[in-house]
Amino acid sequence: MDCVVTGGNVKVLAKAIHSLSRIGDELYLEPQEDGLALRSVNSSRSAYACFLFSPLFFSRYTIPLGHAFRCKMAIKCVQAVFRSLSSLEKTVEKCHIELDGEKSRLTFTLHCKHGLLKTHNLSFQDSESLQAVFDKESCANMLRAQPRLLVDTVLHFPPSLEEVSVSVSGERVWFRNHVDDEAEQSKAMLTELCLSSDEFDHFAVGAQTSITFCLKELRGLLVFAESTGLPVSMYFDESGSPVVLSVTDSVLEVNFVLATLSDDSNLCNHNNNTKRARSPPPPDDFMTDDIDSYLIAMETSELAGPSDALAPRSPSPNHTLTTPPSVAMRRLERGEEEEEEDTEDTERPPNKKFRSLFFGSVCPSDSQLTNQTIKSQEVLASDSEDDTQASLP
């Protein structure tokens, strides 16, 4: 692998890495034919981010022939290469990323002003493919705004705020901080901002809905979007379905996929819009603990169709089927085991309100499909013990 990034793009790359560091501790790097994918996922697998840099982003882009190369490394190590963002613009002329297969080293060479050369040889680990399966095009609701608008909005929330709720109606959007049921109501402070549809570049609301997701991860994307000045698009359905935040331009596609809380009763209490009736749980609101059916449903449902059905504007990571089916199977199985252990607990692990929402899976092979029963899209019996259970979309 041999890539060269020049001029202002070096700073964009650096900002992308810093943005990914807000999601997880490890950076997954995968040079694909459609571009270099940099991904990260958080430990509870409720947040995923992918930066796809098309070959045009680079002044040279050569990927290894033959077998696909995938690796992961500690994100802090890569951040160290691009330490001082402010001086990057002024001093770095180009950045060369090279793979040394023999020594298992990824070399980042920064060519700077005055002939100074900074070379970082980072060791990496081979890794499985990390891709989320999602289809933003089929989401019922879509908002697009200039990053400045969203930055100014979230500015009103304290840095310590974990979750933010976004509610939409035909003409308006509300941003409010999410207050736990468990939190003492007398000590809670509620902050709410209302934005009208004309503040947005694009405002398409299918049905009145409200979603709650992690603010920290949103901020991570906004920092990047603001520096590039590109508009942020938000695709979402009802609560429980993941929200996809997207920033795109001709050479770059960024997708942040965040899990949302599924908690109708809680949201009703805080919802000032009395017109919003309590809607019946939507058909694909899976309240089941059955991970197998969920995964199959994700793959086969209209909402998250199989990779082939996706029609992204620019190259989508979901298209890549470089993982041989056996690897995908192993990955999936491992994921299932983890998830099953989790679901048997009635005690939710602390601070993990969001259930794991997806795994680094590509389309499962046919053999796997035959092993599973494909359940219908109807709502299955929920676990009545736990009203605030965050369910899988």
């Binding site: 160290a80 001086s87 005055h114 002939g115 100074l116 050369l117 900074k118 070379t119 970082h120 060791s123």
Partner: protein, 278 residues
């Protein structure tokens, strides 16, 4: 100046009197070598030399020539004492640390000789404070025996580019390796940390490079010893890096003070001899 009237009673007994209109011309440069509490002061008619040492492996010297001072009177050939540098450097900020342009704290430093404390008269806006800092028997600074005839490599760089490298150095690396060579990579700083290794290369024809005279060497120094030199680097505009036949390192920093006058700070460091292979 009000200070001159203060010392009437003890005035005749001073062996050293040094005055500055702006104490920062002294305190800034001393802050660059404050990695240990104790400093050895040695005054000669040429000026003031302040030495700080660490574990017999690292020595830093700050030179403030007599010309820098508004008044520099010395009654003996050599006056030496040792003080706690941290305590001493608390004194100039006695009027508050903030620097307002046009307002400077003036200093008059007086020393009566062996056994007497170092007396500092600090004045700002007509208010005078007297600080007396206890002195100790001065230790003999180590002579690193670094002489120009043994120098095998000499490089003079503009500090700007070196500052960037030093601020980014991987601190998980125990050593800093300096490679000098008449051919590629010319002048290279390397670290070997947890995530891998990193190299900073300065070509000999870079416009940051003012002098380049090297034979081929590669020596390692403990990172913990060299890290304090970053303070001196930050103040300086030029730095000379020299190594001798034993691998000892000499870093000389040219520092311009607030008034544009030149002072020097020098660091000597022993090579790290633990690792001999590789």
């Amino acid at each position: 100046m009000p200070l001159s009237t203060q010392s009437q009673t003890e005035g005749d007994n001073y062996v050293l009197v040094a005055s500055l209109d702006n104490v920062r011309n002294l305190s800034n440069i001393l802050k660059a070598i404050t990695f240990k509490d104790h400093a050895i002061f040695n005054a000669t008619p040429n000026g003031l030399k302040v030495t700080v040492e660490d574990s017999k492996c690292l020595q830093a010297n700050a030179f403030i020539q007599a010309e820098i001072f508004q008044e520099f009177t010395i009654k003996e050939d050599s006056v030496g004492f040792q003080v706690n540098l941290t305590v001493l450097l608390d004194c100039p900020t006695i009027f508050g640390g903030s620097t307002v342009p046009g307002v400077a704290t003036a200093l008059r430093m007086c020393y009566n000789g062996y056994g007497y404390p170092l007396t500092l008269f600090l004045e700002e806006g007509g208010v005078v404070t007297v600080c007396k800092v206890n002195t100790q028997e001065p230790e003999e600074p180590i002579d690193f025996e670094f002489c120009s005839t043994n120098v095998t490599n000499k490089v003079i760089l503009q500090s700007e580019s070196l500052k960037e490298a030093f601020s980014e150095l991987d601190m998980t690396s125990e050593v800093l390796q300096i490679t000098m060579s008449p051919s590629q990579p010319y002048f290279r700083l390397s670290t070997f940390g947890n995530s891998g290794n990193a190299h900073y290369d300065y070509p000999k024809d870079s416009d940051m490079m003012e002098l380049f005279q090297c034979t081929k060497t590669q020596t390692r120094y403990k990172m913990s010893l060299l890290k304090p030199s970053t303070k001196a680097l930050a103040l300086s505009c030029k730095v000379s890096v020299r190594t001798d036949s034993r691998g000892f390192l000499s870093l000389q920093y040219l520092v311009r003070n607030d008034d544009g006058q030149i002072c020097f700070v020098e660091y000597y460091c022993c090579p790290d001899e633990e690792v001999e292979e590789e």
